[in-house]
Every structure is written in structure tokens, then in C-alpha cells.
């Protein structure tokens, strides 16, 4: 395997840590004979409006006392039918729909979509564009993981890491805004390139962010990783074996926490990811705690990737120099009739795609993000399908939560790192 296991300097409770430091013991469950109660189960409705469901997710939970007997997730509260809407838009217009699905990592979605369409059309983007998209995607991977980290720590009962994480997220928001003018709905990519080249000094801002992030991660690490309450609430909770995780279709950190080193960046490299030096962290227990560790390490690896990508960012044009794909410059449009006609035709007619289909997947922040695009020779997609990683990850929650306590269900849900905009689409 190209990926390597990252060693964590954290022992499993109640053992000693590898460094010899004692790991604080979590609270021991009170062991007393329980009185005989009736066998009637109770139904509890979690959500759709509840902060611990991380969106408009509704979980119908059947409880026996405090133990979860079954979970039935109900979706669709945020269903916007993006796939249907996409069939009525030209290939470039669909870009605006992609960032509204995963508003926690919009640039990854922007990039994944255009990468699929470019593969369908057989377009090779410029070197600068490739590295630029790697920077965007790794930045948004951290962006998304930071939100997960904040909400995760709130679910476990710690408020401080949430503030630390959001302080860093704010910097990415500002970078988004400087790059695209929008903080969440970035729509930064176009077929054959980007909406615009990086603004002046933007890469310096990214570098600054990447420089400062590890200190924040270390602080949060100190607060959470060896925290007794955190360990007690997450170790051994929601564990899933490697075979089951693969069979359930889990991807991303949820799969790697079970010990399967499947990372699209390593297994099916795109944009020269094979030439970057980074490691894929994997866990060995597949429980909530391992998912936490894997995501924490992924952020550090993304920082490494950011530095390498910033170092190698070449000059040159951002967009492909092909008049059938790229728009002429605005200055030309305003001064030159032919350029204006050219601009008008590209915008109104769109770019035709061959009558084929294409599947392209990237390693999103939530898991394997697949884009399946079907063309018919015209400028609009016949079908545009997203393989939603958190949709598939969430489908394992009945299996993960069964037999655990109600409070554990909240942690299991948090550990899956879902975003409802993408689940419901």
C-alpha cells in the first residue's frame, strides 16, 4: 500500500500511553443490579431541528430504557433536486449548484464537478490550474474538518475547541471572500480553469493560515485527545470492522478509521497527488475516537500538502487557451466586436460535451466524492449525478448505533461528519 499508518502517541484506555504518561481513566459505569423494568420500548424523535443532528436530519430512535434498539433516519428536509436542476443548465452554470450542496467545503465540490466535466470533454487544464485547485481543495478539507472538530467538541461537552476552530475557519472564509467574493457559495471554478486567477497576495494569506493552523491543532489536541470525558465517550463507541465498513460503502475518514487505507488521492491519483509527500492516517479500532484521531491527522497532512502546493505553484495562464472553452478577457469584450460575439456565443450556447458518460471521483472532506456526468452532444447534461459521501456514510448509522446509549448516538452522528445539504441534495 502506498499509504502508511500514522503512529499515535495515545494509549488505549486504561493502559498507559506509549510515552509512559498515564491516560486518565474515564468514568467507570456504576455497577449495581438494575431493577426489573417493563420491556416496552420508547420512541424518541431526534431532530429535524436539533443542533446535535448537524442539520435538518431526523432520527427516529427506538429506545429500551437508555439503550438504542433501532434508528430510522429520515431525510429529505433539504431536498432541492440539484440533479434535476442541473439538467436544465449548461455545463458551466451547474457549478453554482455544486457549492450549495456541501457548504462546508464548497471548493472541493466546485473542483470535483469541473474535473469530471473536463474529463468528459477531454480537456487538459494548465499546470497552474492544477496546483491552484489542489490548494483550494486542501484548504477546504481543513475548512470542513475544522467545522467538524468544533461541532464534535460541542457534542462531547467541550466549548473551547469550538471557538478555537472557528477562529481558524474565519481565516478561510476571508480567503474564500478574497478569491471569489463569496464566503460560502464560492463557485470558483469554470470548465477549463478558474473563475479568476488568484488575487494579489492571496497565496501569502494561505501560507499564513497554513503556518498558524498547527498551533491551534496542538492546543485542541491538548484539550481533547487525552481528556478523560472525551475518551470515555468515544472509545469503543460506534465501532465497525474493516470488512463491514467497506461493505457499507463507508469512505473517507470513517473508512480509514477502521484500518482500510483507501484514499482516492493515493489509490487513483489526480492532479499529480502521487508526487506530493503526504501520509494517509488510518486507525485500527474503527470507533468514534479513531475517527477523531484520523481527522486530526488529516488536517496536519493537508497543511503539509498546502505548503508543497504553494511552493510549486507555477506561473503562466490559469485557463486553457482554447477559445471554444475559455471566455475572452473583459477588456477585449468591451473594445473588440469579435470578442464580444465570442463571449456572447459561449455564454448563451454553452460548451458541448460528447455523447458519453464519465465518472470521476476525488477525495472530498467527507469521503469519496464521485461525479457522474452524462452528455449527449449538447451543451447541457443529460444526467448529472453526485455520489454523496455523507449520504452513504449516514446509511450506516443504524448499524453503528444499535446497542449503544442514546448519548452515544449523538457522538456517533458527530463522528460520521455529515452535511445535510449534500445528503438531501
Amino acid at each position: 500500500m502506498a499509504s502508511s499508518t500514522v503512529e499515535y502517541a495515545v494509549g488505549r484506555n486504561p493502559e498507559m500511553g506509549p510515552a509512559g504518561t498515564p491516560v486518565p481513566s474515564p468514568l467507570e459505569p456504576f455497577d449495581a443490579p438494575e431493577p426489573e423494568l417493563g420491556s416496552q420500548t420508547m420512541l424518541v424523535n431526534v431532530g429535524p431541528q436539533h443542533p446535535a443532528t448537524h442539520g435538518v436530519l431526523r432520527l427516529v430512535v427506538e429506545l429500551d430504557g437508555e439503550t438504542v434498539v433501532s434508528v430510522v433516519p429520515r431525510l429529505g428536509y433539504l431536498h432541492s433536486s440539484f440533479e434535476k436542476l442541473g439538467e436544465y443548465r449548461t455545463w458551466n452554470q451547474v457549478v453554482t449548484l455544486t457549492d450549495r450542496m456541501d457548504y462546508l467545503a464548497p471548493l472541493i465540490y466546485n473542483c470535483a464537478y469541473v474535473m469530471a466535466v473536463e474529463k468528459l470533454m477531454g480537456i487538459e487544464v494548465t499546470e497552474r490550474c492544477k496546483v491552484a485547485r489542489v490548494i483550494c481543495m486542501e484548504m477546504d478539507r481543513i475548512f470542513s474538518h475544522l467545522l467538524w472538530l468544533g461541532t464534535w467538541s460541542i457534542d462531547v461537552g467541550a466549548f473551547t475547541p469550538f471557538l478555537y476552530a472557528f477562529q481558524q475557519r474565519e481565516k478561510v472564509y476571508k480567503l474564500h471572500e478574497a478569491l471569489t467574493g463569496a464566503r460560502i457559495t464560492t463557485s470558483a471554478t469554470r470548465i477549463g480553469g478558474m473563475m479568476a486567477d488568484f488575487p494579489e497576495g492571496w497565496t501569502r494569506g494561505v501560507r499564513e493560515f497554513a503556518d498558524n493552523l498547527p498551533a491551534t491543532l496542538d492546543e485542541i489536541d491538548t484539550l481533547l485527545t487525552c481528556n478523560a470525558i472525551h475518551i470515555g465517550r468515544t472509545q469503543g463507541i460506534g465501532a465497525i470492522s474493516a470488512e463491514e465498513a467497506v461493505n457499507h460503502g463507508l469512505t473517507g475518514a470513517n473508512l480509514r478509521a477502521s484500518g482500510v487505507p483507501y484514499d482516492v488521492r493515493k489509490d487513483r491519483p489526480y492532479y499529480d497527488y502521487e508526487s506530493y509527500d503526504f501520509e494517509v492516517p488510518i486507525g485500527c479500532h474503527g470507533d468514534c475516537y479513531d475517527r477523531y484521531l484520523v481527522r486530526m491527522e488529516e488536517m496536519r497532512q493537508s497543511v503539509r500538502l498546502l505548503h508543497q502546493a504553494l511552493d510549486r505553484l507555477p506561473g503562466g495562464p490559469m485557463d486553457v487557451e482554447d477559445p471554444r472553452i475559455s471566455l475572452p478577457s473583459k477588456t477585449d469584450c468591451m473594445s473588440d466586436m469579435e470578442s464580444m460575439i465570442h463571449h456572447f456565443k459561449l455564454i448563451t450556447e454553452g460548451i458541448p460535451a460528447p455523447a458519453e458518460d464519465c465518472w470521476f471521483s476525488v477525495e472530498g472532506s467527507k469521503g469519496e466524492l464521485g461525479m457522474y456526468v452524462v452528455g449527449d452532444g449538447g451543451p447541457k447534461p443529460v444526467r448529472w449525478r453526485i455520489r454523496p459521501p455523507s449520504f452513504v456514510n449516514l446509511s450506516a448509522i443504524p448499524k453503528l448505533a444499535e446497542g449503544h446509549l442514546m448519548a452515544d448516538l449523538i457522538m456517533i452522528n458527530a463522528s460520521l461528519d455529515i452535511v445535510l445539504g449534500e445528503i438531501d441534495r
Partner: protein
């Protein structure tokens, strides 16, 4: 959409497919094992193992192997791909469907990935519009559960043997049909007022009564919801079936 040869108004792609845009010759789709030289050895193995189950294969977007198989034998062939030592397609990345419109069959698409062998394969089954039924692969990959429910919900393809075939994204009492079908209008079949009325009259308590969890039978969508034929003209007429108890 009509066939690629007969697109009248759309720009002609053949004029575009030259220059920097990589030209891709029309892929022949002939019957027989040697029709298209595949990049993935699994395709050859499939031809040898299931000479009458595999219908044809093609290569899409440069390097993606697509195999069309007999819908009747989907669990047999996909099970073989999952279990056989040399194949081990253990990761079912996606199950989806494509409706090309114009009466063409609906394609059910299985996107497979083998984690040990790092190989991708796309398997397609073509279902004619009057027989939208196919066996469920939940027995092979548990993860197919929600993906198949979504295809059922949005395309109306019934998966035989699925443990819990209900709508997943649309409400359970949704009676306008299957939204991702090409004959489904973008704004739905009912008027906006009727859609609002239906949304308000649905009773969420219906869906989690004690004892119903886990032993629900697949919900049969009303006959008016099955496609374009009869539901298309039923603007306000169908609205009465939802009952007037809510408003």
C-alpha cells in the same frame, strides 16, 4: 434526448473535437468479446465467465470500462465480481440511473471499485420503461440500501428483494411521480397551491408508529404516480385523495 446521431439543434460536437480538445473516435458497440479492447482485464474475464450474460462493453471518457449486462442476471454477475478472488470489487461506489428520455430504456448504473486491485468498473443494466424491475444487490453490498432507495424514489425502478424499499428523499405520500424522469416537469405536476396543501396535510406521526419500525412493507405508490401517462393531466384532480383532515 434522441440518439447522438440525430441531435438536430445542438452544436455538432464533431467539429469541436479537434485541436487541443482531445479527439475521441466514435466507440463501436458491437456484440462479442472482442468488440472493444478493454483496459481492465475484468471485462475479458466477464466475457469468458458469462458469455450470454454480458451484452456488450465500451470504453468511455478515455479509460473507463463500461459493461452492459443482462438485468436478469445482475445479482449473479455482480456477486461473482464481488466474490471471485481475482476481481474483488468490494467497494460499491454508486448505484444510480440515467433516463435519456424519448422512450429509451432507463439505465441502472453500478460503479464498482476494487480496493485490493485498484480497478474501476462500471456495470450498466438497461431496463425498458414498461418493466422497471431489477434484483436488489443489497445482499452483496449492504451499502446499496439507500442508493437503491434513491433510485426507486427518483426514477421509479423497483428493486426486487430490497429489505426496505421506500421513498427516501421525497415524502412518502408524494404522488407526483418520480422527479428525475425526463417526462417529469421541472416544477412538478401539481399546482403550487396543491403542493403546499399536500405538504401541510401530511402527518409526520404516520411514519414512526411503534411496531412499524423494521417491519414496514414496501410502500406502493398510487397508480397515478407511476409515470407520465395519467398523472400528467391530473393537476388538481388527484388532490382530493390526501384527505381534508389537516386544513
Amino acid at each position: 434526448m434522441p440518439d447522438k446521431g440525430s441531435v438536430a439543434s445542438a452544436p455538432d460536437f464533431s467539429t469541436v473535437a479537434s485541436g487541443p480538445v482531445r479527439s475521441r473516435a466514435e466507440v463501436p458497440e458491437r456484440e462479442g468479446p472482442a468488440s472493444v479492447p478493454p483496459g481492465n482485464p475484468t471485462v475479458t474475464a466477464l466475457w469468458e465467465q458469462f458469455p450470454d450474460g454480458v451484452l456488450r462493453n465500451r470504453v468511455c471518457a478515455g479509460d473507463e470500462d463500461v459493461v452492459y449486462i443482462d438485468p436478469e442476471r445482475v445479482t449473479e454477475i455482480l456477486g461473482w465480481l464481488h466474490e471471485t478472488a481475482g476481481q474483488q470489487y468490494d467497494h460499491l461506489a454508486d448505484v444510480t440511473a440515467v433516463d435519456y428520455g424519448g422512450g429509451r430504456p432507463i439505465e441502472v448504473v453500478y460503479q464498482l471499485w476494487s480496493i485490493p486491485h485498484r480497478a474501476a468498473l462500471r456495470v450498466k443494466c438497461e431496463l425498458p420503461l414498461d418493466a422497471l424491475e431489477i434484483d436488489s444487490v443489497t445482499g452483496i453490498w449492504v451499502g446499496a440500501d439507500w442508493l437503491e432507495r434513491e433510485v426507486y424514489d427518483l426514477f421509479g425502478v423497483t428493486f426486487q428483494g430490497h429489505p426496505d424499499l421506500r421513498r427516501i428523499l421525497m415524502p412518502e405520500n408524494y404522488a407526483e411521480g418520480h422527479p428525475l424522469r425526463k417526462d417529469f416537469p421541472l416544477r412538478g405536476r401539481f399546482s403550487r397551491a396543491e403542493q403546499t396543501r399536500r405538504a401541510l396535510t401530511q402527518d409526520p406521526e404516520d411514519y414512526y408508529m411503534p411496531g412499524e419500525i423494521g417491519e414496514r412493507t414496501p410502500q406502493v405508490v398510487g397508480s397515478g404516480a407511476d409515470g407520465g401517462d395519467d398523472a400528467a393531466g391530473s393537476g388538481a384532480g388527484v388532490g382530493t385523495e390526501g384527505g381534508d383532515d389537516g386544513l
